[in-house]
Symmetry: C2
């Protein structure tokens, strides 16, 4: 890959910081400029060597920038795209790391019309229960999927450049339409997060919350791990993808209504059939997706 002379990373947390570290480790970037809303994470990222410089001004940051990675929560996409627009050179390649794609693409069309050839939306699939620049690691994307949802206006060269950057990070590249992306991730990521946040919230508000939590064990720990995720990031994802997410939630509510009817009827054989199918599907998937240990432990 041709070295990037100036890389701009907006949002220097786990996601953006890990790309910066991976490119630096590969020796494929000369200079990394961090941009963000708050000075603290930027200062930490500089101390840790994740970025070389902090910029508070898009005109300065984008001046001579070859590659821009937008890795802030998706709710900021509109404001960031609007701020970048007046200063963005037609040569600069831009990609993002947002967990939703339709809303990000709407913001791109709203503000970056003259640059559409070079703005390539993408979504790296990497666990984000920890956040901030201290959580960033050069190997975060090793073997992880990155889904690119190219725009019809994207130039083949820009798509190739974005693929190249993610490949250097160790990622496996996939392409999808933004609509399909948002439906798939509503089902396998956004809904589980909402369900886990909801369960913990409901229990935490009870008078006997302390007693309940004191008897929760490793099953509860694993089930609720995603409820420890970044609240603002997940607010933005849930709001941005709310139509697909509500469709998934409704399908799930139907399943729960059916399970409730089975419980009410004391229908052991059907419950066992459901649990058996789920257990097989889950363990077959986990053994394939996380082959290191049985059942993806």
């Amino acid at each position: 890959m041709k070295k990037i002379d100036k890389l701009v990373v907006c949002g220097v947390g786990l996601i953006g910081g890990s790309v910066a570290l991976a490119l630096r480790k590969a020796g494929l970037v000369n200079r990394i400029v961090g941009v963000g809303r708050r000075p603290e994470p930027l200062a930490v990222a500089r101390q840790l060597g994740v970025i070389d410089e902090v910029s508070t001004d898009w005109a300065e940051a984008l001046d001579g920038a070859e590659f821009v990675l937008l890795a802030m929560p998706v709710g900021q996409m509109d404001v960031v795209a609007a701020a970048m627009a007046p200063h963005l050179s037609p040569e600069t390649i831009v990609t993002d790391a947002g967990s939703t794609k339709r809303d990000v693409i709407e913001a791109i069309y709203r503000h970056l019309g003259p640059n559409l050839a070079n703005v390539v939306p993408a979504h790296p699939i990497a666990g984000a229960e920890k956040s901030g620049p201290t959580a960033a690691r050069a190997d975060l994307y090793q073997g992880r999927k990155v889904v690119i949802t190219p725009l019809p206006e994207n130039s083949p060269a820009a798509i190739a450049r974005v693929r190249e950057v993610w490949a250097v990070c160790g990622a496996l590249l996939h392409e999808m339409s933004p609509q399909e992306h948002d439906r798939v991730f509503a089902a396998v990521s956004h809904l589980p997060h909402l369900l886990a946040f909801g369960l913990v919230h409901e229990l935490a508000e009870r008078a006997n919350a302390e007693q309940l939590f004191s008897y929760a064990a490793s099953g509860f720990r694993d089930f609720t791990r995603v409820a420890g995720s970044h609240p603002e990031m997940w607010r933005d994802i849930c709001v941005a993808n709310r139509h697909s997410l509500m469709a998934e939630l409704d399908a799930y509510l139907s399943e729960l209504a059916w399970l409730r009817a089975l419980l009410l009827a004391g229908d052991g054989p059907t419950l066992e059939k459901v649990f058996d199918e789920a257990s097989r599907a889950r363990n077959e998937w986990a053994d394939k997706a996380f082959p290191a240990t049985p059942s993806g432990e």
Copy 2:
């Protein structure tokens, strides 16, 4: 602790097998007899040294037995108690490891009336995503809670003996009423299992299940880990504790209905507040309950 001369374990899987291994490792048992429905796990348990002998006959197994641990799925409790009853000496101490307590206690009252002084219900809180005798380990209960739900008829000596056995396994002992036990575990264990089974089942039945699973990542892996659990064991738990479980499910369905309304309204601030409260509660709990690593990883 006074050595047990003859220990009988009914159900030689993860739960029963781990007690056997812990007592043997501590040198506190002379002879361990395994009882069960199916010959294969018993043969495996004998090969692995989890038990010394296999018995297919309760008269023989209970002859001279000092201590009996019932560690089969709770749905078998009624049949097992009925089969034991004619052969159970008034001196033998009996305990169980069932994840539900009211149904187990009903079976005890139905069949073991003359032995109530010595039949002490209990529930070890140990993850059971893996099952079978090969999963058994001497240290499974180290630092884990065991909840004893004594009967009013239990003798103090029998309760003390059961506590002693679990303490040798490394467990931390707690006492609760059976009613309270079943409510607490419906909330923090049975409901999460049902929710995870339901999510995987609903996705696995879709035409595009393979695509969906192919994009599921570590968040989904953790959220669904409990859906890899033993289907029959969980069928029994859900049927036995269905009244408490339905009450918990209904509370959760109300929470989800509210979250759905927030999504429909696009109410980001309230969603963020919910996620923030959940995230704090979850991480505070996990850091305390699993102090080895931040947020209970």
